[in-house]
């Protein structure tokens, strides 16, 4: 029998080449894509518990006096991310079949399949070279995926690519530094050797960890690398954005859990409060990320950009949870990772459905779609309720766990940031709801239809998933605890309904909460049915002081309530944003490089200076060799 692990990475790869040949048959291609992700989900499902599955290949490249081996191994942590990523991908794939019709086909299936191949590789890599290789594959293929053969997306993707390349460079440097310590590329061995290094050379150890951390931060868009999602998410193919947001933002988290957490947990590092210094830095970065993400999301008018920032904020929560180094915190963070996958796929898929039907991304040009696309609206509504962390749905329990963990470690400022971000989330979540689905329907969208069936099915499944996880958190918590056991924590098997907490007597039975909320909802329904009905007006029916907007040198849009919704807030935070905008530095740096590049190019076109340069070279040799 062919090795399961090998099949898992080979099938996407082979399918990728297969689909290249028949790229024009988009129906077939995307169905194949669905089949592959379905296969992966099924295989992964059967692999739960079989932690001794491995696959390895000898490369014949000698390093550290032994032959280099690339290996994959099943492990709880990798399985956890890989399985949920595959399930999400499968749902997105179903959506993609419908989405990539004659008009919208982005012809990206082969690259996406390579991305999935890299995805499996990253999560099951057992040595750093495999990890790095797959990481690079992921970076490169996602560049092509985001750019997808269009000019404007290519510009955004360039920004993403440059950050990715910075990340891979530091990762490679880090890997080789650490591998030199442990004399092998094995991940677990390198963790041990870094823990030992902390005892002897603290600064060096921090430097090595920093090299890894930069990479992970970049990929997960943790501060100070929070800028790329808004550009990349906005321009990527609409059915790919959910994948970017749900699966790809977790690579960095996976890296942190895999490598940095065990070291911070076990190394001999001076304590700072109840946790240690590096962990505290992690917490603060997480806090800044979530606050910044929230603020930026509030100001955004493009709905894909808005949810890009929202993803950034959620990554911030997860990082905060991890930084506590406590069981509850890590549980919460892992739980929230999966919740975020589910929630964001709900939100982005519903937005993709909207864009599929309307072709519009700017929120103030939309409105009232709830009447035309009720299912999409429902999915979106449940998505944001869940994202806001309101109890009967899944987002609540994980956020609750993270806040608990932070409180128990006395990280008060971080808690405040978390609560600020959570509250701020209402502001932007509601705004999209109000401007896209509620309000008045513009005339040109009068005849829009509900999303097609193949889109509706995955959206419905996701809706049900949100509810199911909300009621029975054990679906996620059981594997989470398996991960924790695999990491060496002492935890019990999780129950289906109850979430344990950091403080005594505060365990939470979410199922009971669900019943209570259902009762509340029933009462609300009664109120809704018997209260007064709403009045319908047109979208631009606004107060303009008796004059046409054009007389004022402006457009009716200016008076649309969802245009510049949070303008005052924006003005308040603007100076701060200018200071910390990382992309501006990058752009300035890029400009400088371009200018030097042009200068050098001119140097090379000149014929007169050629001999002079030759002499300068000789002079360098003389000065370097003789005088110094």
């Amino acid at each position: 029998m062919v090795d399961k692990m090998l099949m898992m990475i080979l099938i996407p790869l082979i399918t990728a080449f297969l689909t290249t040949i028949i790229l024009k048959q988009h129906k077939v291609v995307w169905t194949l894509f669905l089949a592959v992700s379905g296969y992966l989900s099924y295989t992964l499902f059967t692999m739960y518990g079989a932690w001794d599955l491995t696959w390895s290949i000898e490369l014949g490249y000698k390093i550290f006096d032994s032959n280099l081996v690339l290996s994959l191994a099943n492990n709880p942590l990798g399985w956890f991310f890989a399985f949920f990523a595959s399930v999400t991908t499968m749902l997105i794939a179903m959506f993609s079949i419908a989405f990539n019709d004659d008009k919208h086909d982005s012809k990206t299936a082969p690259i996406w399949l390579i991305l999935i191949f890299a995805n499996i590789g990253i999560f099951f890599a057992q040595d750093w070279l495999m990890f790095f290789g797959m990481w690079e594959m992921m970076s490169m293929s996602s560049y092509f995926m985001i750019a997808h053969g269009k000019e404007i997306p290519a510009k955004a993707a360039k920004f993403y690519l440059s950050l990715s390349l910075v990340g891979t460079s530091t990762l490679l440097l880090g890997i080789i530094s650490v591998a030199r310590l442990s004399q092998t590329f094995d991940i677990n061995a390198s963790i041990d050797s870094l823990i030992n290094l902390f005892a002897t050379d603290y600064n060096k150890a921090i430097l090595y960890i920093g090299l890894f951390a930069v990479t992970f931060f970049i990929k997960s868009a943790v501060f100070p690398f929070y800028m790329w999602p808004s550009k990349a998410y906005a321009e990527s193919p609409d059915d790919f954005t959910p994948f970017l947001s749900t699966v790809m933002s977790k690579y960095g988290i996976y890296g942190i859990v895999l490598f940095i957490l065990p070291i911070l947990q076990n190394a001999d590092i001076p304590a700072l409060g109840q946790i240690n210094e590096p962990a505290y830095i992690l917490a603060v970065l997480g806090a800044i990320t979530s606050v910044l993400g929230t603020i930026l999301a509030i100001f955004e008018t493009d709905m894909k950009k808005l949810f890009a920032y929202s993803s950034v904020a959620n990554i911030g929560y997860i990082v905060m949870g991890l930084s506590t180094l406590s069981i509850i915190g890590i549980q919460g963070a892992l739980f929230h990772s999966i919740n975020h996958m589910v929630i964001k796929s709900a939100i982005f898929l519903s937005l993709a459905a909207v864009i599929y039907r309307t072709g519009e991304r700017e929120m103030h040009k939309l409105g009232g779609l709830a009447y035309r696309m009720p299912l999409t609206f429902m999915v979106y509504l449940l998505g944001i309720i869940s994202a806001a962390g309101i109890p009967p749905l899944n987002g609540f329990a994980s956020k609750w766990l993270i806040i608990q963990a932070l409180m128990s470690q006395n990280m008060l400022f971080v808690v405040i940031a978390m609560i600020f971000a959570s509250t701020g989330a209402f502001m932007y979540l509601f705004r999209v709801l109000a401007s896209v689905f509620l309000g008045q329907l513009p005339d040109k969208y009068k005849h829009i239809k509900e999303a097609p069936l193949l889109m509706a099915i995955p959206m419905t499944i996701i809706m049900l998933l949100m509810l199911a996880i909300g009621v029975l958190p054990g679906i996620i918590m059981k594997p989470v605890n398996a991960v924790l056991i695999g990491m060496g924590y002492d935890v019990q098997e999780a129950s289906w309904t109850t979430v344990h907490s950091a403080f005594s007597n505060s365990d939470l039975n979410v199922t009971n909460i669900f019943y209570i909320f259902m009762a509340g909802a029933a009462i609300a329904l009664v109120f809704y049915l018997f209260s007064a009905k709403s009045v319908k007006v047109t979208q631009d029916d606004n107060y303009t002081a008796g004059e046409l907007p054009s007389d004022w040198g402006t457009t009716p849009e200016r008076f649309n309530f969802s245009y510049g919704f949070y303008q005052p807030f924006k003005e308040m935070f603007n100076p701060m944003m200018d200071l910390i905008s990382f992309d501006r530095w990058m752009a300035a740096f890029g400009k400088i490089v371009e200018r030097i590049s042009n200068g050098l190019s001119v140097l090379y076109t000149k014929s007169e200076g050629a001999i002079l340069m030759l002499y300068i070279g000789v002079a360098i040799l003389i000065i370097g060799g003789w005088i110094i």
Partner: protein
């Protein structure tokens, strides 16, 4: 602006050359242990010693004037050039071949006509040419005995062709020159290959040597020099002819 740039170039050139000169001075006056640049030339310590004593193959062998030796060229420079380091010399031929061909390639297509010249030159032409050819011929035949050899001989022979052109007469056609060039070139390398076939080594002087000082000595050297002379003269004459019409039509792409 322009003058400033020139001045700058001059200053930079002087700075660089001063640095280089100072470096060479330091090298020359260095007092470290080891062989220095400025040590006296001692031929005994060099490979040249064995060339002069003609005992490369057998360390203890000696030779006499009029006797035989491993290389029987009386002119030891020629012995080095055309026997010990024959490979270099045959590559030199290729250098000339490729540069002259490149010259013909890049030269613009406009050509001059060969003009009638003064009666004086025209009438003296046969005598001049004969004289030049004789000198050239003497040089390549005697290359292994006295200063000279294939290259200068070829250059002198080609001047005979040049004089012909100046006198208004094209003595050889471009096509002939090409044939001479190719035949001579192929012959040189065929002789090298023949050495491989006969003695198992390329560029070997496989002919019986003869006695030092005789005209018919030094084995292959006179033959090779003859070929080189023909080839060089053909190539250099080709350069002169390139400027004039009447040469073979070029198949420029």
């Amino acid at each position: 602006m322009k003058n400033d740039k020139t001045l700058l170039m001059n200053i930079l050139a002087i700075v660089f050359l001063a640095l280089l000169a100072y470096f060479i001075y330091a090298v020359a006056t260095s007092s470290d242990v080891g062989i220095n640049l400025m040590d006296d030339n001692v031929v005994e310590n060099r490979v040249a010693d064995r060339y002069l004593n003609k005992n490369v193959l057998d360390e203890n062998s000696q030779y006499e004037w009029g006797g035989k030796a491993e290389d029987s060229a009386a002119n030891i420079v020629t012995a080095v050039l055309a026997d010990y380091r024959l490979f270099d010399t045959s590559l030199e031929v290729i250098v000339l071949f490729v540069t002259v061909m490149g010259f013909g390639l890049v030269l613009p297509d406009e050509r001059r006509k060969i003009k009638e010249s003064t009666q004086l030159l025209f009438n003296w032409l046969p005598i001049l040419m004969t004289f030049m050819l004789l000198v050239g011929g003497y040089m390549f035949i005697n290359g292994h005995l006295s200063p000279g050899g294939g290259f200068p001989a070829g250059a002198i022979i080609s001047t005979a062709i040049l004089v012909g052109i100046l006198a208004g007469k094209q003595t050889v056609s471009h096509h002939t020159l090409k044939i001479v060039e190719a035949v001579a070139g192929i012959s040189i390398f065929s002789l090298a290959t023949l050495g491989f076939i006969l003695k198992g080594s390329f560029f070997i002087n496989f002919l019986e040597g003869g006695n030092i000082g005789d005209v018919f000595s030094a084995g292959l050297i006179p033959i090779l020099y003859t070929l080189v002379a023909f080839k060089v003269s053909a190539e250099l004459s080709g350069v002169y002819l390139e400027f004039y019409k009447g040469g073979e039509e070029h198949d420029h792409a």
